[in-house]
Structure formats: C-alpha cells, structure tokens
Symmetry: C2
Subunit: 669 residues, 2 copies
C-alpha cells in the first residue's frame, strides 16, 4: 500500500472567495495597454464568480498615473455574472485600472430578511446577526455616519416589535451607508492592473497633409521652411490640421539616387530625403537647402497659429555620409571584408542606405542615441512623428522608446508607416504606436472594404490599433488612382475621410489629380522624392474645394471623429457601398453612399439598418447631403440612390431621425 | 524651454528581436491548464513576429513535469507569421509547454546566397560571412558534426571557384547541421510556460452507471456493498465502466428527511445519504448498513475484475450529528444565538444540513481536513470522485485541493456536479475538475442541442471543459422523460452516448422506464434518496439491450471517444437532428439521425456535409445502422430518412466513405 503523503499547505489567500475573470477592455490579457483619448469614457466589464448564493459587490479602480490614488466606481450587475462600470479619462497620460470584488455579507443578509419576513418566518436571531454587521461597519465609518450606523445597530438588536426592526433592516439609507463602508478584508483584487494610454484628442481625430518643402519654393527654386510657412494658409484653408514633412535632415551624396530612382544621379539632383546624413550633420541637423533649425521653428509657430501641428518623418537609417558612420561604426553591421552592410532585398542592393544594427553589440548606446533624436525634435516643438518603416527595427525598441518618451511627454503621437504583414502592424500598435498606416490604400471593392473595416473596428483590435487612411502616399499611387481619374480621387477621399477618423493625403499631387506612374509600378512618375516639382495650386480642376468640404463635415460631425459606431447597410448593387457612423453619445449620425465604379453611373436600393442608425423603423428618415446639398425623405427599410461619378460619386448624408414614436415630428440632429 | 530630461536605460533583454504571441491552446492566456489524456497529440500554434525580413526559427518546448528536461519540437511556418508544432503526451501528469524563437542568421544568409547567386551577383564576400556562421556553429557542436562543420567552414572561405562554394553553401546537409546547432543567444522564450493536465483516458471516454446500493439487497433488505458486488455483472453486461455510488457515509438522524423528502421521517426511513455524519462517523466512515470498509474494498476489487472503476460521491457538508459538529465547531458558521447555521435558500430551511465555513477563521485546518477525506478514499482504491455541489465551496479550495491531490495521484478524475450558472461551471472546470455535469439534461430541441454542442466543442471551452451527459439523475427526472415514454428514453440515451464521449445514467430507473414524478416537479416519486426500492432487472420492457448496444458501439468507434470532430448536418424537419462525429485520426465516422418527437413518425431530407465527413462528395456513401442493422447507399448531397419512434427513434450509422476519386470502389472503414 502506498504510504499517505504529507498534506500541502493551503494557499495563503484562500479566504478570497470571488474569482475575477475576463476584464475588458484588455489587449493580450492586459500585456499591452488599451488606447483612449482625453475626455473618453472607459467602460469596463468583468466576470465575477463566487461560490454559493451570496451577493457580491465590486468596484472598478482607476488611477491617472502609477503614483495617484485609486478612484473607485461601483460595478453594476448585468446578469449572468457580468458586471460593468465606467469612468471618464479626463487627462492625457498612462492610466491604470483594475477590479476589486468581495462577498457582500450585508446585502446577502438583507436579501434573506426580505424573503424570510415576506414568508412570515421569525427573523429575531437574524436581526442580531445583522446588528453585528452594522456595528462592524460603524467601526469602519467616522463622524455622523458612524453614529448613525451605531444607532441603527442598536435598533436592530433591541426588543422592539419585529416588524419595526425588519423595516429598519430594509431601509434604503442603511443599504447606502453599508455600501459606503464595506468589509473588504476578504476582497479579491485583479493583479496586475491593466493600463490605458490616454492620448490627446488628435490621436483619434486628425487630417494630415503631406508635402515636400523642396517643391514649395518660388519659380523652381528649392523650397525652404519659410516658403512652406508663407503658403501654409493654403493647407489650413483645406481644413487639414497636421502638416507632415518628409525627413528634413541633410541628404547624403554617396550612391545618391537620381530622378525616378535611377542608380546614378545628375550633379543637380537633390536626392532622396530618406538618405539621411551628410557633412552638414545627421538626424538632429536640418538640410541646409531647407533652411535652419530657426526656420523650422518659425514654421512650427506659423502652423500653430493656423491650428496645424507639424509632424516630421523619422527614418532610423543612415546614408554612407552620415556622421555616425565614422563616429560610431559599431552601430552598423560589418561584412567580412570590413565594409559596412548596406540595405538589400536580395538580389537588389540599396547601397545609399545603411541600416543600424539594433541588436548588435552596441545596441544599448544606439537605442539611447535614437531616442535622443526624438527628444531633440520634441524640444524643437514637434509632438507628432511619422515613423518610417518601424517594422525593420526591433519591436522591443519601439516599446521602450515610445513608452519612455511618453512618460516624459505624454502628448506625443506616433504614426507607424509599416506596410507589412498584419501581425507586425498590430504588434507595433500594441507596443505604443498611436496611429498606423493600413491596407485601405489597396482595398477597393465593396467586399474588401466591408471586411477590412469590420476587422479594424471590432474586438480587441479596436482597443489598440488606430487606422490612418491614405488614398495615396509618395510611395504609392495605386492603380485605381492611375486610371480612375477625378471620380476615383473623389471616391477615395470620401472613403478615407468618412470611414476613418484619421486620414491624410500626399498633396498637392492628390488634389491636382496627378496620376502618371512609372510604367508597371505604383510609383509616381517624376516623383518629388528625387526631384523638385512646381505645382499650380490654383488649377481650376483641383479637388481643393471638395477636400475643404470633407474636412468641414468631419469637424462638424462627431460621428466621424472616432472609429466607433460604424455599420454597413446592404445594397443590391456591388458597386454601391453604404455605411453609417453614429457618434458614441448618439447625437449625430452620418450615412455615406459611394459609387465605387469610376466609369459608370449606378443606381441601387439600400436596405437600411434602422437599429444601427438608432432610428425608429416606422418613422421616416430625413437626410441632407452635405456635399451635393440634396435632401431626401426615406420611409421604410428601402432607399433608392442614383450616383453619377461624372458629377459626384458619393452622398455624405446627415441623418435626422425620429427617436421616439410618441411625437410624430420630433426629429433629432 | 523645458529642460531635456535624462534618458532612461534600455531594457536589459532588448536584443531579443522575436515577439511571441497568442500561443494556443491556452486557457485564459495560460492562467489555467489545458486538458488532454495520455496518448493525445498536443498541437501548438503561435505567432512569431520579428523586425525586418530575416528568417526565423523556433521550437515548441515540452516537459512531462516541472523537474523534467525540456524536449524540443521544431516549429513549422504556416504562413502569415503563424507557426505550429505537435508532440505526443505519452503519460499522465501535469506537463508544461512553451515556445522559444530566434532570428536564424544562417537561413537568412542561405536565402540571400540563393537569390544573389541565381541573379549572377558576386557573393565572394558573403561566402566569408557564411564561413563565420558555420565556424560558430562548429564551436557549439561536438564530435563528427563539429569536424564536418569546421571543414565546411574552411571550404566556404577557400579560394576555390565560386560556383563550387555556392553549391557547398546551399547543400541540404549543411542546413540540417546548422539547424541542429543554432545560435540561441538572442532567443526569446515565452514565460511563464503553459500547463497541460494529462489525465487517464477514462477522463475523456467513460460510461457511468449510478445506483443506490440500499436498493440492491435481496427481498427488500437494505443492500450492502457485497450485494452490489454480487450483481455487478449486470452493470458490466450493459457496458458501463464507472460505477458511481451516492455518499456511502453514516447518515444523520437529526431532522432526517422522510420518504418523498417530507420534513419528518418515520422510524424506519433510511434518510438521505447526503445528510452525512452520525455517531458511526463522518466522511471517512462507512454507513453501517452498507457494510464495512473491507466490504467497500471487496466491491472495488470485484469491479476492477469486471473492468469497472468505482466512483464515490463526496459532499462536503455535515448532518447535525456529524462528529465535526462537536470536535470542530469552528468549522461551521455560528448564528447570534450560538446555534450553528443550517443550509437555507430563504425562506426555505434545510435544517438537516450544516455547510462548512470554507472562508471562516479556521479555513486552513478545514481545507486540510477536507483534502484528507479524499486521501482516505484514494487509499481505499477510489480514483474517481463525483463532487456534490462544488459551486457552494470556494473555487480557490478546489484549485488547491485538486491540484495538490493530482500532484500526488495524477490519475484522479473529478466530476463536478454544479448545476448552476455557466461561468461558475466553467470556472470549476478551469481550476481542475476533469468532467462536468451539463445543461444537456434540459436541452431537447434541435436548435438547443446544436447551439449547446457548438458552445461546448469549439474555442477555448473545449480545451478545459469535458462534458458528461446524463439523461437523468436522482435529482432530475426531466419533463420529456416523464411524458415521452420509451421513445424519449431511447432518444436521450442515443443523444447522450453519441454526442458526448462521457455519459451516464441513474439506473436501473432509467432502463426500467420509471417516469413517475412528484406532481409539478422534476423529482422522481418515491425517490431512492429517501427510501429503499426493489427493482426487477429482468423486466422484458427494459432498455438494457439498447444500452448494451450503445456502449458496444462506443467502444468500437473511436469517433465517439472524444468531443472532437462533431458536425451538424441540416435537415428539412425540425424534429430530425443529424450529426456526425469523425475520429481525430480520420479512421472512423459515425453519423447519427434522431427523431426528437417521441409522439410521431417523421421523415426528412438531410443535406450532407461531405467535407465534415471527410468524404468525396461525388462518390456514394455506404452507411450501416449499428442499432437497426439497416444499410443505406446515399448518392449526392441529400439523403432521406424515416424514423418511427414506436420502433426506434434513431439511426447510429457507421459511414463507409470513398476517400479518393481514383479508385471508384475504395471504401474506408
């Protein structure tokens, strides 16, 4: 017979009866923070399970920083062991939240008294049990509350008629005070707390305009920061609020690329701004032809006056002429022949770019230096960074860099330019990027757009990944813009600006309908990346008036200022896409209908989802097209649309709903 | 101007480039163990993401216990950053697994050589880089491998014709050896490891028979363990392999319940076995009328000889006569008048039952004592416990109790009798219960059965929750058995035994079609819980032959021995349910068709899901009814069935499929 083994010790906190599970929101079970912006509501739900039939009680605990005190919000039961509470995130920073829950002896007791007294059971012994609970709560209270509870405890225990004592037990004021002084000695708290990064509002709602300052000089002269400042009212007039500049650092000469990315350049070719570093300096210096650090500061100031934030591009790589190559050769990979390893995508070589060795022997010093680059520009007034190819630098670097920078400067915003596989894009967003480029640029059919937006706006992804939709970039002139003309440009602008609360264009090529590509590629012909261009901003064909209108609609429509509240409405034409956005406070609904076919007029019947619109399905909907100014009155589930892309391929409709049936004419803006 | 803040230190392990995410299986992100049985395959998938375009490499690490060495299984890429590996769990116990992954410099280099050499690029410098990688691997190797790698390193570096060196670089043997001696100095390992509890096979596949020994005596005499042993061949002949006995401990006298659960009993009433404890002892003693501990051991031995395991019921509560009441009053809740708190569901009182105070001041000693009860019965040969109302004891108690018991006795199986809310049922399974009672007992319509089985067999729930389906229990005579007669009993037996790999009945009332309930309740009339009954096991109406057939089909059909491989097939009649089960090794497919209406014959067209059957949709299916012995040849997606509940309300069909189209007559058992 097996000898009986010694019994192990019970766990030290075994008296905690409540099990806390499935706190939401949570990213990877709390491993990464959720994202919100200042002023947002954080609604937390959680499963609370405990043995037996006792009543539970719990709080959501929230604090604005690691050294702040926890603020408690009572959890409310939703049925089936689900509980919820919400709080407002009033300020930017890294907040934390967790849940604490315990068995509520008083509520359990009170419920028993209610049932027993109702059934005529003698509860005189129970009254003494209750008196003890109230006396214990009195000991946790102070002042008037304490005195009140002590008196009530005596009343429950005294030999007065039972009916009076039952009434005193069930009294609402007693419940209120008992909830105020709970016995949490056996409470379970979820550890560790979860984090939520609270960003400035423009992390969630922004309109970006990217331009190459080199082309904004007068009469073909190399443009400067001051030239951009002088014409910034144009960008402001279009309603964009982020001015995004490609790298502003000195451009290398060794292996400089010529026009249209040819391998050898002509003497006057300006080179690619992404070949960073020359005799004039590296990532902390300014390209001399753009001006000076003071010129940059003047541009930032001018922009600020126009309500525009300046974002710069940080590309953590070096040209062969970068000062680091001589001062810090240990930050690069060396080949067996002693040369520095250039970038490559075998068999292609990019000899004008040296990648840094982020996991090499000197990684600590390199990381510190790279972080310092951001600090330098932050100190020059930059709060938004577009990061070039973050997926070619270690994820752990970004986590450390962004987290530690935001600890010092919590209002920073980082946009990840990672056009790569989805899991890497999500990984970068999880570790700290505030916004991300997306596959929107290539999603053109109704099925593709619906599926992609469902992915981005539902479940855990919506908690950490903020899309920024771009119809074009200096690297991408997608096929539909090459061949779809003005209708395609209009369609893509409407989709980007209304599907995503963050959007941007690379201008002025976008509004000027520039669409010539290098043959067989998605690359703009005569790309500003490699040469100076001049643009006629006054071109009568320019889409500037439409962009201005779209950005105004966005500013006036809370429904378009977050990724929440999106719903697709079925249509019977696969070229006609229909979706609505409803603001979280239900004050605003926008319905968008787009003809995705740039070549043909299409009509369609839409099957309206009144529940998604928050509208009474039996009342008519009034809609007002904020672009074309048409007004439509729709009755019932089906609505007819007719969109001619030669005129305008989209309706952006404000929806006026009847919210309640009682008042037949009560519409709601 | 804000002063620049000091730069923080980079994280200590920043050089680890691979991020490991979403390891599956995982229960609550690894907080609770996954469940398997001995001999199972554990297939693990994981997302591996790293910066840049380097090739990755990784292993699944598995160990059979905390002090065993990790065994490595190479992860294979599945595309889109998903990787997989599998291993066999050869023995019972608590295994662990995790994932380690790293950037594979050699594979990256080899891929570059392949692309560059193919494009005619000079790779002589690259050859020197490769020679270094191979030399470093040689230093990690020993013996012949080391010598071979050293030689190969020299060959890559020597001034022989480049083509020869490229061939030497791309050679498969080199890749094999380089994989054998990888550089894992920058590897990321997922911490902490995840656990998988590997149970004996009968945790996954079992057929339970519950009986009250009190009724198995001769001629109305109180039955004993020896009486049960004497008639155990009956249970064995029906094919059941777990004999489950209600509590076998002395039964209390104070407030003993009479027949049909009346509050006061007659002098000869035997009382409820769940009122545990009397002068003769408590949870470690045996009810004198059942015999002795030796008699119990004889029953266990007899059962073992018949291939049956004896399970006993552990109900952690006391009658007022339990020895603990005097020896350990501190293990009970005391009311204000000094009396011990009885169980209640206000306003109902259960004065014959005292609950233990699992979170009270003496909880540590109580927990240790309760664990000791299990140890006592384990030492008497019990390996399976049915636990009564586990949801009224703290979840943390079960976690500690089951985990620590299984550390000493890894072959234990615990069945949770928690008929309560779903989250509690799942919580108990997560913390250690091997099997669980379910809502099956009340799921009767096609929609209910399909929805419930989908919940139980998909996603995370299937990783930790093992259902045990019971058509009836001593506490539950569901309405459909009260009024559905023999057809309903047949239907429920077929459903329970083929939908779930663990099933059980409370007999012999089930096979004898006992169906009288106390009016307006789900309680058997004249329940054995409160009195002795006598049963005629030879009743010609008995369902024994069908139960024998069902259990034989289960033993002969791997498809029915796990919860995997279930699919529902649509039918055009809402009373006709159709589903198939396919064994994980694809060797066996069973298709079940059930008429859920006990009152009427029904016909239906089934739309067969050939993919779920693993069958060629263009070839016929041969099916053989293992109950009725009919044979049907079905061609195409639709099959006709006709089920008369008066004859037999179900087909349980073995499916013979054509697996490949080439051999028109190749069927597969």
């Amino acid at each position: 017979m097996t000898p009986v083994l010694p019994s192990p010790q019970p766990p030290s906190l075994g008296f905690r009866r409540v099990v806390i599970a499935d706190i939401r929101p949570a990213v990877d079970g709390g491993r990464y923070p959720t994202k919100r912006v200042a002023g947002d509501r954080l609604a937390v739900s959680v499963d609370l399970v405990a043995d037996g039939h006792d009543h539970l009680c719990g709080d959501l605990l929230v604090r604005a920083s690691a050294d702040a005190d926890w603020v408690r919000y009572p959890l409310e039961p939703q049925g089936n062991d689900l509980w919820q509470a919400a709080c407002e995130l009033s300020a930017i920073g890294r907040w934390s939240y967790t849940v604490e829950a315990w068995v509520d002896a008083f509520a359990t007791w009170r419920w028993g008294i209610e049932r027993k007294a109702g059934a005529g059971v003698d509860v005189s012994v129970e009254m003494l049990d209750g008196a003890r609970l109230v006396r214990e709560a009195a000991a946790r209270a102070a002042g008037d509350d304490r005195a009140w509870l002590e008196e009530r405890s005596r009343r429950l225990a005294e030999p007065s008629p039972l009916a009076e004592r039952v009434a005193a037990a069930l009294d609402a004021q007693l419940s209120l005070l008992m909830r105020r002084y709970p016995d949490r000695s056996q409470a379970t708290r979820h550890e560790p707390p979860l984090d939520v990064v609270v960003d400035p509002v423009w992390a969630r709602f922004s309109a970006w305009y990217e331009l190459f300052p080199r082309s904004w000089g007068e009469a073909g002269r190399h443009g400067t920061f001051d030239d951009v400042a002088a014409r910034l009212d144009y960008v402001a007039s279009l309603g964009f609020d982020v001015l995004y500049l490609p790298p502003v650092h000195p451009i290398g000469h060794t292996h400089r690329k010529g026009r249209n990315n040819v391998v050898s350049c002509e003497p006057n070719d300006p080179g690619s701004p992404w070949a960073i570093g020359a005799a004039a300096g590296g990532h902390e210096a300014v390209h001399p032809e753009l001006g000076t650090v003071e010129g940059f500061r003047r541009l930032v100031d001018k922009a600020q006056g126009l309500g525009i934030k300046v974002a710069i591009d940080i590309a953590l790589q070096a040209s062969p002429d970068h000062p680091y190559v001589k001062s810090h050769p240990e930050w690069f990979v060396h080949r067996a022949d002693g040369s520095i390893q250039y970038a490559e995508n075998p068999p292609k070589k990019y000899q004008d770019v040296y990648p840094f060795d982020f996991a090499g022997p000197a990684w600590r010093e390199l990381w510190t230096e790279m972080r310092g680059v951001f600090v330098t520009w932050i100190e020059r007034g930059v709060r938004i960074f577009r990061v070039d190819n973050p997926h070619t630098k270690p994820i752990a670097f970004w986590q450390w860099c962004i987290e530690s920078l935001k600890a010092d400067y919590p209002d920073l915003v980082f946009l990840a330019e990672a056009f790569t596989r989805p899991k890497m894009m999500y990984a970068l967003a999880k570790v700290g990027f505030s916004q991300s480029y997306t596959y929107f640029t290539w999603r053109t059919t109704k099925a593709e757009i619906e599926a992609y937006l469902r992915e981005l706006t539902s479940g855990e992804i919506a908690e950490f990944f903020r899309p920024n939709f771009w119809p074009n970039t200096p690297d991408i002139l997608p096929e539909h813009l090459q061949f779809g003309g003005r209708p395609a440009h209009l369609t893509r602008a409407v989709l980007a600006s209304t599907l995503s609360s963050n959007w941007g264009i690379y201008g002025p090529v976008f509004e000027l309908l520039v669409h010539q590509a290098r043959p067989g590629s998605e690359e703009y012909l005569d790309n500003e990346k490699y040469e100076l261009r001049t643009w006629n901003l006054q071109d009568p064909q320019s889409l500037a008036p439409v962009l201005r209108r779209l950005n105004r609609i966005r500013r006036e429509s809370p429904a378009l200022q977050s990724m929440a509240g999106l719903a697709f409405h079925p249509t019977d034409n696969e070229y006609i896409l229909c979706y609505s956005k409803r603001s979280p406070d239900d004050s605003d609904v926008i319905l968008v209908v787009v003809n995705l076919d740039p070549g043909h007029r299409h009509t369609a019947w839409i099957t309206l989802d009144h529940a998604a619109l928050g509208a009474d399905p039996h009342a008519p909907l009034q809609t007002h097209d904020l672009i074309g100014d048409g007004r439509y009155l729709w009755q019932g589930p089906r609505a007819f649309v007719d969109l001619d892309p030669g005129v305008m391929p989209a309706h952006v409709l404000r929806v006026y709903r009847k919210l309640r049936r009682e008042n037949a004419f009560e519409y709601f803006l």
